[in-house]
Symmetry: D3
Subunit: 227 residues, 6 copies
Amino acid sequence: MYELGVVYRNIRRADRVAADGLGRYGSATVHEAMGRVGLMKPYLRPIYPGARVSGTAVTVLLHPGDNWMMHVVAEQIAPGDIVVAAITADCTDGYFGDLLATSFMARGARGLVIDAGCRDVRDLTEMGFPVWSKAISSKGTIKATIGSVNIPVVCAGMIVNPGDVIVADDDGVVVVPATLAGTVLEAAGKREANEADKRARLAAGVLGLDMYGMRAPLAQAGLRYID
Amino acid sequence: MYELGVVYRNIRRADRVAADGLGRYGSATVHEAMGRVGLMKPYLRPIYPGARVSGTAVTVLLHPGDNWMMHVVAEQIAPGDIVVAAITADCTDGYFGDLLATSFMARGARGLVIDAGCRDVRDLTEMGFPVWSKAISSKGTIKATIGSVNIPVVCAGMIVNPGDVIVADDDGVVVVPATLAGTVLEAAGKREANEADKRARLAAGVLGLDMYGMRAPLAQAGLRYID
Amino acid sequence: MYELGVVYRNIRRADRVAADGLGRYGSATVHEAMGRVGLMKPYLRPIYPGARVSGTAVTVLLHPGDNWMMHVVAEQIAPGDIVVAAITADCTDGYFGDLLATSFMARGARGLVIDAGCRDVRDLTEMGFPVWSKAISSKGTIKATIGSVNIPVVCAGMIVNPGDVIVADDDGVVVVPATLAGTVLEAAGKREANEADKRARLAAGVLGLDMYGMRAPLAQAGLRYID
Amino acid sequence: MYELGVVYRNIRRADRVAADGLGRYGSATVHEAMGRVGLMKPYLRPIYPGARVSGTAVTVLLHPGDNWMMHVVAEQIAPGDIVVAAITADCTDGYFGDLLATSFMARGARGLVIDAGCRDVRDLTEMGFPVWSKAISSKGTIKATIGSVNIPVVCAGMIVNPGDVIVADDDGVVVVPATLAGTVLEAAGKREANEADKRARLAAGVLGLDMYGMRAPLAQAGLRYID
Amino acid sequence: MYELGVVYRNIRRADRVAADGLGRYGSATVHEAMGRVGLMKPYLRPIYPGARVSGTAVTVLLHPGDNWMMHVVAEQIAPGDIVVAAITADCTDGYFGDLLATSFMARGARGLVIDAGCRDVRDLTEMGFPVWSKAISSKGTIKATIGSVNIPVVCAGMIVNPGDVIVADDDGVVVVPATLAGTVLEAAGKREANEADKRARLAAGVLGLDMYGMRAPLAQAGLRYID
Amino acid sequence: MYELGVVYRNIRRADRVAADGLGRYGSATVHEAMGRVGLMKPYLRPIYPGARVSGTAVTVLLHPGDNWMMHVVAEQIAPGDIVVAAITADCTDGYFGDLLATSFMARGARGLVIDAGCRDVRDLTEMGFPVWSKAISSKGTIKATIGSVNIPVVCAGMIVNPGDVIVADDDGVVVVPATLAGTVLEAAGKREANEADKRARLAAGVLGLDMYGMRAPLAQAGLRYID
C-alpha cells in the first residue's frame, strides 16, 4: 500500500488449473478449505445475483474519486484474470461502468472486485460482467492522480497479492494465496465430496446431532434438556 | 437472554390456525393490526425476494462465530415452525447454509430468522428455503460453546418467546405473541377487508384527502394552501 | 426546510420535453453531463431492479413516523411528476405502500424518491411503481403533524426545488434544476453519441490508454513501468 | 414491548444492598461475573467520562420523536433508581435535557440509560447527572402519543425488566436480573479479590502465560514458536 | 450545490446583534424557538467539549479529498463569521488543521462546521478554535479542483445560505435563516425566561405531570395506571 | 493473514532513533511526509485525548471474541514497542483491560492499536496506557483458539509488518514501513521546519492564497469572483 506510481508488468500468477478449478466450489467451501481465513469483508456485494467466478488477481490501487489507473490496469489484464481494486481512503464513487467493462472483457477479465462503488449496473448485468462492490453510485470520477498496478493491496480488509486466486459468488469474495492454490483446491474437493452424502442423510431426517456425534460433547459441555 | 446451556423441549406454540392464517396478510398488515408494535429492525432482509411465511417460533441463542446450537435447535423443530436465532454479540458470520437448511426442511421448518449472517444463498434460493438475515457471508463458524434453545431471546431488537408467531416477507419480520395470535388474525382480516374497496376508489382517482375526510383536520392543524 | 404547514399549488415545472428526454440517458450520464453534481447519496436504492424514470419533482416534507402529508401531496401530482419526500429527521419507517401507490399512479406519478422507508414492495413491484428509498420496513406511520408540499427540500443530501427534473435508475437518483434541464439534455445527448463509437473500439481491444491519449500524461505524472 | 398505554406502579426492585454494591465493581467485572451475558450494545456511550453508577431499573417505552412518557416515568422513580428508556423504532432525537434531569434528580434517580439521543449535555455534566445514550442531539420531541412505564423493554439489544439492576460506567451498561443480583454481587467480589494479586504479579513482570499456566494448552492447540 | 467555480464576495449577513445574541441560548433552545427545524444531522460532533458559538455563515463547497477552496474562503471571512464547509460526496479526510485555523482566526472566524474530517485536534483545542466535524482524520488533502464560495450548500443534511446564523455547541449545530434571526432571538429569549422558574419548581419536587397539566390529556389518550 | 498458529520471536525492528523520533511530529505530519499513504481508517479512536506515541510494531492476529493470543504477544514485547492487534472478522468485544495493560507496561510497551474493542478505560486512563480502538465494550472474551504473533496483519485497513513504526495520536494512527523510517523522519522534519514560519505569517493576516501563490492557478482553473 506504500509504493505509488508503479506498474508491475510481470507477475507470477497462480497455477491456472487451480485458479480455474476453485470456482467450482464457491467462496464458502474455499474459505473453509483454507482454514477459515482469506475472506473479504461481507459489505462487498455482487451487483447481480447468481455469478460465480474464479481467476487470478491483477491489483490496482486508486485514489478517492479518481479512476485513472483503471485504464492502466486494463492493459495488464490477461485472460482468466479478475481485477482487484483498492482505494487509499473510503469512497463510494462509481469508478467502473459499461465502457471499462467492455475493455476489461475484451482483455479476458472475468470480473472486478472493488472496495468502492460501481455504476451502469443494468448494462453490466446484460453484458454478464460480474462486479463485487461496496456501493452502487452514479457518481463519476476524475483522472488526475496516479496510483499503482500489481502491488500488494488491502481490499475490503484482506491482503491481495498480484497473482493470488480470487473466488467470488453470491456469498462473498475469498482470496487464496497463489502458493496455496493447489492445496486448497484439493481440500475443497475433499470437503465437497463429503457433502453429497451428508445432504442425503439430513434430507432423510437424520439429525446433525447424530450424524456428527455431537450429543456426547454437548452433554460434556453442560447442555441440559428440560421437559 | 440470561440462561445458558438449556434446551426447553416442550413449548407452548401459538394456535396453529392463527399461526398459519397470519401469513396471508403479510408483515405490514399484521404490524398495523397489532397496534404498530412487534417489528424487528429493518436491517433484517430476505436472502431472495418474494417469500412470505408465517409459523411458530423455536428460538436459539448462539455465541458469535459459533453455530453449534443450530444442530441442537434442529431437533426441536416441529412442522410449521420458524427458527429464530439470536446472538450474544453482534456478528455477521455465515451461521447457516445448505446442509442445515436441508435438515431444517426435513424437520418441517418454514424458514429462518437470524440476527447474523447466512451463506449458500444460491442453493437456499433454489431449495426455496427463505432466510431473513442481517448479512450474507461465506465466513464459517466453529462448534465450541453452548447456548440455549427455546428461551426468550432478543432478535433484531425484538423480544421473541418460543411459540410466538413469526410473520416474514419482503417488508420485514413481525413477532406476534402466542396469546394474541387469534386477536391479531381477526384484526388483520378486518383491516384487509377494507383495503380492496379503498384501493378501487383510489385507483378511480378519489383522493385520500377526501376518502379519509382529512381536509378538515388538516385545516385545523393549520395547513395553508398558497396559489 | 424552514416553512412548515404550507402547500404551494402552482409550481413551475421544468420543460416537459427535457424532463421526459433526460430519462433516456440514465442517472450516470446525466450526472456527468451536469458536471458531476446533483447526485443524491447512494444509500437510496430502488425497491426492484431495472426501473428507469425521469419526471418533474413535486416535493413533500414530512416528520419522522408521520405520513399525513403523503395524502396532501397526492393532490398536487400532475402527470409526469415524481414525488420527492424528505423527512425532518432520520427515519426508516415505511411511509408508503400499495394504497398510496394506487393513488399516486391514478394521478399520473412516475415514481417516488423518499429519504426514509417503504413497504408493500412485492405489491409495488407487481404494480410497476418504482420507489427509491433508504430502507424497506413494515413499520407504519401516524397522521398527526403537518409538514409542507412544494417547498425546497433536502433529500438524501441534495437540494430539490419543486419542478426540478429527477432522473432515477439502478445507479441512483440525480436532480437537474429546472432551468438547466434543456442544457443538460443536450450535453447528455452529446456525451452518449460519443459512447457507441468508444464502446466498439474498446470491444475490439483498443485500450483506453491509447484511445484517450493517456500514455503521455501518465508518464508526465511519474508513472513507471517495471518488468 | 407489546403492551401500550399502561403504567405499572408497584414493581419488585432488586435487593437494595446488591443493587448498590454492584456499582463498586463496574460493568466489565459484573458482566464477567454473570457469565458474559447481560451487556447492552456498545453504541451506548456516556455523555461525559468518569461516571459509574448502579441502581434499580424503572423502564419506559416511548415512540420515535415523542418524550411524553418521560414525565410519566418521573413520578415512578424511587431513590436509587436508574431510568431505562426504550423506543419503538430507531431514533436519535434529544429526548432528555436539563429540565427533566432536574426532575429526575429531585426524585432520587441516579442516571438515565436511553436507546436514543440526549441534549443539554453541558448542563447535565455540570449537574453531574450521568446519561448513557446512542446520540447527542439538539432535536426536541413532541408530547402526543402514549407508551408504557415499567413493562419489560428491549434497550440497546438487551431485555430489561423493571426492578433489574443496571450497572453503567465508561465501559458500558450491564443488566443484572433482580433475582440474580445477590449471586452476581458475590461472584463479582470474588473475581475482584483475585485481581489485586494478579495485578501485582503482572506489574512485577510475570507473564500471563506463566501465571495462568497457558503454555501447555497453547502448545496442545498447536502453537509453534519460530526463531 | 450546482454552481461550481464561483466566489460571491458580497453576501448579506444576518443582523449582527441577532447573530451574536443567539449563541447565548445554545442549539437546543434555538432549535425549539425555530419550531424544531434547522438542525444539522447529529453525526457532526465538536472536536472538544464545552465550546458554544454563534456567527454568520460563509459557505464553501469542496470536492472529496481536496481542500483548495479552504484558502479561497479564508479571504471572504469577516469578523464574527463561522465557516460552513460542504463536500460534493461523502468524505472523512482531514481538510482542516492548525495552519488553516491560524489563518481563519486571524480573519476573525469563530469556528468551522464541516461535513468531513478535521485534524490537528490537539493544537486546535489549545488554540481554542472550535470545529464541528463528522470525523477526525490525519488524512491530508490535495489542491487540484475548484469548488465555490458563498453559494447555498447542504451541510449535514441542512441547507445553509451565506449569511445565515449558525449556532453550535455540545448538542449540535443549528442554522437560522438570516431573515428569521431577530424573530428567533426573541422567541429563544422568551423560552429561556420560562425555564428558570420551571427548573426551580422541578428541583423542589413538583412533577412535570402537574406543572404542565398533563394528567388529563394522558388519561384522555388512554393511559392506565395499574397497581 | 494466512498463517495461523505461529509466533515469530525474532523480528527486525525499525531503527530505534527513527522510531522514537517520528512521534515528535504526530500522525498528520508523518502521513504527509510519507506521501499520504499509511493511515489506518479513522474509526480507530484514542480512549482518552492527548496521547501521542511512536514505537515499533509487534503484531498479533486474534479471532473474534477470543483474546488468548494477547498473552502470547505480551512475551514478545520489547521496550519501545506498540502492539498492533488485528481480528479475523469484525468484532467490538473488549479484548484488553487493566490487567493486560499492567503486563504490557511491565514489558515496556508504549500503547496498543486494536481493530476491536477495549475496556477498563477509566483505569487505563489513570495508568496512562494509551489505546486506539474501534469500540469501548465491557464484553469479555474467551481463550480457546490460537492465532499468530508477528505475522503481517491488516489492521483498520492498513497492512502492518512486524517491526514497522506506528505513530498514533488524537488524529489517528499511521504505519511507517521499517525500511522507510529514516527517510520519513527526515521528510517530516523538513515539513515541520517550514510550518513555524508559515504559522507566523498566517497569524499576521497573510492569506494562504498569497503565501502559497494560489491566485494564478485558481484563475487558470476557472475560478470567478462575483461582487
